[in-house]
């Protein structure tokens, strides 16, 4: 019987040489006359170990990593094909790696385990159970299940998903409705959306199809970040296969109900991750923010009722339907229910995906999982939730991961990205970067964001050059307030958060 060997086909692994590694393994297997079955699986999300090669043995999947092409001859020599342990890259049973073992993977339970494009593999690991269940339920019952789960929008705004679905559900059914997936993942340090799409694409398809059934939408769109070519290829392939197998199309699983899905490549602008500019862009227009109301749930894509959710929100739904909303809600704390896929990045030794119930402290993530900085120097600041969120000083690292707890600090969890900085960081430069980022990515519609961000950079430059410290600090404070209070969307409205956090926690870095 052939030995099954897994080499990830996910972007991080690929960028670390996974294709070459895979090629060499096949090459050496041929030379050695070993009968292997090479599976290109997804990533487990343990990025410092990529490429992570796994060999299936009687005792489970044995891991080797990070494997570089140069390592292959030695690994083969050391008994790679037999799962032998006599090599520095040997990691033992992958499932026992503490980083993975300590996680609570409800959503990401399959990533790295399955062949992302194999529907059989997906089904064998519980895939499409949620859809099967949903097909037996009334639309309202589906919405109720999502409400019961306590799921909140994982894109960053944390709006209760069930309530959003209810609004679209309650719009008259004799009209076209849409399901739109925001897959324009662009926050610094985030990659969980990409992992879903590259490693377990049917989960997203299933989640969106369930949403379609729940609200009466027959068409879905995935608005995919244009810099995700691997995800694009995999998604297109997966949709094609799901259509062929009757999971998508005019008659989903013989139910007589239709759900079609298309991928649309995004326009390459950060602002198109904002849901209303995303809709504009999806309609073929400039990615300009729309004023709300009307809510997209009532007048969304092409003016029709539309569910716009993040990849992670849809990805949580199959579990919720399969296991029940309560099973999901059993995890978490306070009003933050279920699990959060934390993405650990920046200056960190062990970056990767960490799915845990809400409530874990930031410190645990940084230390127990991250293992300290990559540089080995002390940590100085952590930015959670993307470039528009506050920089958190060490005094705040005990905070539990919980929307409300972070909110009280003027910080946020956002999409769950955690970016770590060591003590060499210039926080004044980081404050400037926040404004500069806004100058580059502002859609330009509203004045506080369009002009304010440019003036923000200039004022910070003056502060850092030591000009009129008091007056410029007061002006910067005023400007931040104007942007927060006056901006049309979160882009301009949140740009001041990192700046204000620097002014508050790292004031010495800001002025010369």
């Amino acid at each position: 019987m052939a030995t099954r060997i897994y080499v990830p086909c996910e972007t991080t692994a690929l960028s670390m040489g996974a294709d070459e590694v895979a090629g060499l393994i096949v090459h050496y297997a041929g030379i050695r006359g070993v009968d292997i079955e090479l599976v290109r699986n997804g990533s487990r999300g343990l990025f410092w170990l990529e490429p992570l090669v796994e060999v299936e043995t009687a005792t489970g999947r044995i891991g080797y990593g990070p494997v570089e092409p140069d390592d292959i001859p030695g690994l083969v020599e050391a008994g790679l094909f037999e799962g032998q342990s006599d090599h520095p890259r040997f990691l033992g049973p992958v499932a026992d790696i503490p980083y993975l073992k300590r996680q609570q993977r409800l959503t990401f339970s399959r990533i790295g385990i399955t062949d992302p494009l194999s529907i059989a593999d997906y089904r064998a690991h519980g895939g499409f159970n949620g859809l099967d269940k949903a097909l037996l339920l009334s639309p309202q019952a589906i919405v109720d299940e999502v409400k019961a789960s306590g799921l909140r929008g994982r894109g960053g705004a944390a709006f209760p998903t069930g309530i959003k679905w209810q609004t679209v559900h309650d719009e008259p059914w004799q009209q076209q409705k849409y399901i739109v997936c925001n897959a324009d993942e662009g926050d610094s340090g985030t990659f969980a959306d990409r992992l879903v799409m590259e490693c377990d694409p049917y989960m997203l398809i299933e989640g969106m199809a369930i949403a379609g059934l729940a609200v009466g939408a027959t068409q879905g769109f995935i608005y995919l970040r244009s810099e995700y070519p691997v995800a694009h290829r995999i998604l297109e392939n997966a949709i094609h296969r799901a259509e062929a197998e009757g999971y998508l199309g005019d008659d989903v699983r013989g139910s007589g109900r239709a759900f079609h899905l298309e991928v649309r490549l995004a326009a390459g602008a950060y602002i198109c991750g904002e849901e209303t500019s995303l809709l504009e862009s999806l309609e073929g227009k400039r990615g300009l923010v729309r004023a709300k109301p009307p809510l997209p749930a009532i007048k969304g894509l092409f003016g029709q009722p539309t569910v716009v959710n993040n990849v992670l929100s849809f990805a949580a739904v199959p579990f919720i339907l399969a296991q029940g909303g309560q099973a999901y809600a059993d995890y978490g704390m306070g009003k933050s229910r279920g699990t959060l896929p934390i993405q650990l990045a920046g200056n960190i030794r062990q970056g990767g995906l960490i799915e845990l119930a809400f409530g874990v402290s930031l410190k645990e993530i940084l230390e127990d999982f991250g293992g300290g900085t990559f540089s080995g120097r002390p940590m100085k600041a952590v930015q959670v939730g993307g470039p528009l969120m506050a920089y958190m000083p060490e005094s705040q690292w005990d905070t539990p991961m919980d929307y409300e707890a972070f909110g009280q600090l003027g910080a946020g969890i956002g999409h769950g990205g955690v970016v770590v900085f060591d003590d060499t960081v210039d926080m004044g430069e980081q404050a400037r970067f926040a404004m500069e980022f806004c100058t580059v990515e502002s859609c330009g519609k509203c004045t506080p964001c369009r002009i304010g961000s440019v003036r923000g950079v200039e004022v910070i430059d003056r502060l850092r050059a030591g000009e009129n410290r008091e007056a410029n600090l007061a002006l910067l404070e005023d400007l931040c307030e104007t942007m927060v209070d006056g901006s049309l969307c979160a882009m301009g409205g949140m740009t001041p958060f990192p700046v204000q956090s620097v002014m508050k926690h790292f004031p010495d870095d800001l002025t010369a």
Partner: protein, 971 residues
């Protein structure tokens, strides 16, 4: 509590919102009222109203820059932020709809600070040249800076900015100075939402966001159609009329009506003394709601052009130099000539032509002069050559010679059929409204040999184009009706209750015959049968189907038949008598409807009352104190024929250039040359005037009082903003001529004339200047039954009781192609030029269209070795002219197309005498021609050139001797 039903203008007579106030966002049409309080003032407004609009209605002005009530709320400037009890943050009042019980505060310390800080950001990227800025005194940015109390810009002026941005002066009428732009997007949104051209966009993002035309092209090279909506929308001087840059801000304004097309837009003529600085479309205008096109908005310079005829002139022969004389002498000379002619050749030997460009009152007076002072019915008007079949066809079938709807009705249409009309060029402001409706999802069917621009409506639904062969309209309308009848798309209830059964049954039997099926007629129309069926279903199945048509319907040998065919189709589908439906002729000139209404035709007294009707005649005779001839007089083509035959010897032509606009120019020239006396009253030495013996200076619409009636029967006031260049308004000249002829007329003001019209015309009995001032405009009929006018006709019954279907047998035009003349020429309009071009050619509009060209299909061109720009000889059975080639696939092979805006083009040298069987409306739209490459102008053109030069020479000062004019003597 204040109660606002908004829009309160649901019908004439109900006072609407004040057109001089910008309410910030468009009105909501909901009938559900929502109560809220704003700064402690309780107010009830329709559901869906924005907080900003509600506040404005309550008299509370919230600062704003990006909001304007002709544009959807945008929410970009953030100045209109308010506080709302129970809500977080500072929502923009423009994008926040009212809700029941809402408590809004518009002024707090926090809001004041926020607004001031936002304004500070604006001004940190704005030049501080207010004192020398053209918008000084009329700048919203300046006003808002004042309103929010901006006192300093702490950011300084050394930061990144756009102050060095280059000015784009390419457009002849307005300048674009991006250094003053605040990126409010009002111009972009106006181009999209109001005009529907989508020529403007914002390029780049963030601080690099900038307004650009097309793909960052100069305005003149872009898709911009120069409608002026962006200039109007601009709150700064970024987009500014060059006339204001030159002259400064106007100091007073007068609301009046545009004198170009049949849309009849209302404008504010903005003045400095008696100098017209700019024309600004008037939001209170019921036809245009504050929109305009390049002609009405900008092309008014002809009024003060050096070519204006400023003094009366006479001559004995057209080979003599003109002699400048006093008004008195000119009038006496004219009267004597007319009387002498009648003495010599009889009462019937003279006649006149009324103008579709002059006012109702002036037109009325000219036909009255002819009937009462000339003593015959030899009156006709240029509608003869455009919409006479409309009058005949609609009167026959539905009992009234007019369109059935308001323009606004199109906003309720589900399917619109456009036949033989090119609204984006010829009726641009209405076309913008059509495009708005098409963007909302209405279906479009175009029946036209040429692919018109309406089919290219951005974000509109995909239209069905039926590119039929010229001259096969009736076959097409029959095929459409055949599908309606045979596929069960008729509105049986309407037919049963509203139409005459005898006529209907005859028609139905006829139309259901297989020979009228799309399949049978495909060989004639050239349009695939299944496309015709699709179109018929789209119209027949629509909740509301509306038909709009133009001269492509009427100017055919079967023009009247086609109009009746249209009426048949509308009645068969029940698309008559409510909003969103109807049969709507798009009138070419500003007052075609009015000139027809005013009794210009030889057989009809004002109000389409037949001269053969003794009761009617008696009423007019009583009032006028004369005997009216009971026989209809000569039509224009009859006048020409009679002139050539020698029995018709003198003519009074007011504001109409028959030598250029009528078909078979050489025939017309022969007729004019045969006259003993031709009196032309016009603002320029037009082509007709070159054959004249008396030239009476006309007055432009800016120089007189009166009314125009547009294509929707809307009577609009024309108000004098400057003195007539030669001292007399046109009606005063006609009055003087009548008095000199011994038939006394005494009117002190055009309102006196309107009172007389109202007295004698049953459909006008309720019309008066006082009521026009009160209501703004009136759609006739306006009488006891309809005191405020009639927006929608035939709601309950037809003036003739039941609607009459008419059998419309298709008869091929005699103007056929053969080996000698293998192509069909059809004619049309272009946006920048108007009709014969006498006005627009004397403005900078000519920069868009400085010559007429012949559009020819690539395959026809290739066959003849023709390339773009080649000189082409175009020969018909009656004449030849030469035009430059433009290769275009907008027509099918076999069809060529041109315009007739330039007299030297000689488009009408080749059009023939073929005409409508019922009304003699010329068949301009079908002429069999051959086209070949040539190297020199045609013989006619060379003759034209010589004649033109000679006549201009005879006009020069010194050619005759000058005496001062004495207008006052005649008043």
């Amino acid at each position: 509590m204040l109660h606002y039903y908004d829009p309160s203008k649901t019908g004439p007579g109900m006072s609407g919102p004040n057109p001089d106030i910008d309410y910030g966002t468009p009105p909501s049409t909901s009938e559900t009222l929502v109560s809220l309080s704003i700064d402690g003032t309780d107010i009830a407004v329709p559901e869906g109203t924005s907080v900003l609009r509600a506040a404005t209605l309550a008299g509370i002005n919230i600062p704003k820059l990006c909001a304007s009530d002709n544009l959807e709320a945008f929410g970009s400037c953030r100045l209109c932020a308010v506080e709302i009890e129970g809500r977080r943050g500072y929502p923009a009042s423009c994008t926040t709809p009212v809700s029941e019980g809402m408590a809004v505060t518009t002024q707090t310390g926090k809001l004041a600070k926020l607004r001031r800080n936002i304004m500070e950001l604006y001004i940190s990227d704005h030049p501080l040249d207010c004192l020398t800025c053209p918008a000084n005194g009329n700048c919203e940015l300046q006003d808002m800076a004042g309103a929010v109390g901006l006192r300093e810009v702490r950011y300084g002026f050394e930061g990144e900015n756009h102050l060095d941005a280059d000015v784009d002066d390419s457009n002849p009428y307005f300048s674009f100075d991006p250094s003053k732009c605040i990126v409010c997007s009002r111009c972009v949104r106006a181009c999209e939402e109001v005009q529907g051209t989508f020529a403007l966009t914002i390029e780049g993002r963030g601080f690099d966001s900038k307004v650009v035309a097309s793909q960052n092209d100069p305005f003149m090279d872009s898709e911009c159609v120069s409608c002026g909506a962006c200039v109007q929308a601009c709150p700064t001087s970024t987009l500014m009329e060059k006339s204001v840059i030159d002259a400064g801000q106007p100091e007073h304004s007068v609301v009046t009506t545009c004198a170009y097309c049949g849309v009849g837009c209302s404008f504010k003529a903005e003045m400095k003394g008696d100098q017209l600085v700019r024309m600004v479309p008037y939001k209170g205008g019921d036809a245009n709601h504050g929109h305009s096109c390049v002609k009405g908005r900008f092309a008014f310079g002809y009024a003060t052009h050096k070519d204006r005829i400023k003094e009366p002139m006479i001559r004995d022969s057209i080979n003599d130099p003109w002699k400048v004389v006093s008004w008195d002498e000119a009038i006496t000379f004219s009267a004597k000539k007319l009387r002498d002619t009648q003495a010599k050749y009889g009462r019937e030997s003279i006649g006149g032509i009324t103008s579709s460009r002059c006012t109702n009152e002036e037109t009325y007076l000219v036909q009255k002069l002819i009937r009462a002072a000339f003593g015959n019915n030899n009156t006709d008007t240029c509608a003869r050559v455009c919409h006479s079949p409309t009058g005949f066809g609609l009167k026959t079938t539905m009992g009234e010679s007019a369109g059935t709807q308001t323009f606004d009705s199109v906003m309720k249409a589900d399917t619109m059929i456009v036949i033989g009309a090119n609204p984006t060029d010829a009726h641009p402001v209405f076309a913008s409204q059509m495009r708005k409706r098409l963007r909302q999802g209405a279906k479009l069917i175009v029946i036209d040999p040429r692919r018109i621009d309406l089919l290219k409506t951005p974000h509109g639904t995909e239209g069905i184009h039926l590119p039929l062969r010229p001259g096969t309209n009736v076959a097409m309308i029959n095929a459409l009706a055949h599908v309606v009848v045979t596929e069960g798309l008729e509105d049986k209830a309407f037919i049963e209750s509203r139409c005459d059964p005898k006529h209907y049954n005859q028609w139905r039997e006829f139309i259901a015959e297989e020979r009228n099926s799309p399949e049978a007629l495909e060989a004639i129309t050239g349009v695939p049968a299944d496309l015709v069926r699709q179109a018929a279903r789209a119209y027949g199945e629509a909740g509301n189907g509306a038909i709009y048509y133009g001269l492509g319907v009427t100017e055919h040998s079967q023009g009247s038949t086609m109009v009746m065919g249209i009426a048949n189709l509308a009645m068969a589908t029940g698309n008559i008598g409510r909003e969103g439906v109807g049969v709507n002729p798009l009138r070419g000139q500003n007052n075609v409807q009015g000139s027809c209404d005013m009794g210009s035709f030889p057989h009809e007294l004002p109000g389409y009352q037949h001269v053969g009707d003794p009761e009617v005649r008696a009423r007019f005779q009583d009032d006028w104190g004369v005997t009216i001839d009971d026989e209809p007089g000569l039509r224009i083509p009859n006048m020409f024929d009679a002139a050539i035959a020698g029995s018709f010897k003198a003519m009074y032509v007011q504001g109409e250039d028959i030598a250029q606009s009528d078909p078979n120019t050489q025939h017309v020239e022969a007729a004019l040359s045969a006259l003993d006396c031709l009196i032309v009253q016009d603002i320029f030495l037009n082509e007709t005037a070159k054959y004249a013996h008396v030239l009476l200076p006309g007055s432009t619409f800016l120089e007189k009082n009166g009314t125009f009636t547009n294509a929707e029967r809307r009577i609009n006031r024309v108000r004098k903003v400057m003195a007539p260049v030669a001292g007399l308004e046109d009606w005063e000249v006609t009055m003087a001529l009548s008095n000199a002829l011994g038939y006394p007329m005494h009117y002190n003001h055009p309102s006196d004339i309107m009172d007389e019209i109202a007295r004698l015309t049953p459909t006008f009995t309720g019309v008066s200047y006082a009521k026009l001032d009160e209501l703004g405009s009136i759609q006739w009929p306006c009488n006891e039954a309809h005191p405020d006018g009639t927006p929608t006709m035939h709601t309950l019954d037809f003036p003739i009781g039941k609607g009459r279907f008419a059998v419309t047998e298709y008869v091929a035009s005699e103007e056929k192609t053969n080996r000698r003349f293998p192509l069909l020429l059809t004619t049309g309009r272009i946006l920048s030029q108007y009709n014969v071009g006498a006005q627009t050619r004397r403005t900078r509009n000519s920069e868009w269209h400085h010559e007429d060209v012949l559009e020819i299909h690539p395959s026809d061109a290739e066959l003849r070795g023709i390339r773009e720009g080649d000189w082409l000889g175009i020969t018909s059975r009656v004449g030849q002219t030469v035009l430059r080639a433009r290769i275009s696939d907008r027509m099918l092979p076999g069809v060529v197309y041109t315009t007739f805006h330039h007299p030297g083009s000689g488009a009408n040298v080749i059009t023939t005498d073929s005409s409508d069987w019922a009304t003699n409306c010329p068949e301009y739209k079908v002429t069999a021609v051959q086209v070949e490459k040539v190297s020199q102008p045609s013989e006619w053109q060379r003759h034209f050139e010589q004649f033109d030069q000679r006549q201009l020479g005879l006009l020069k000062p010194g050619a005759g001797h000058a005496e001062p004019s004495d207008a006052s003597a005649l008043k």
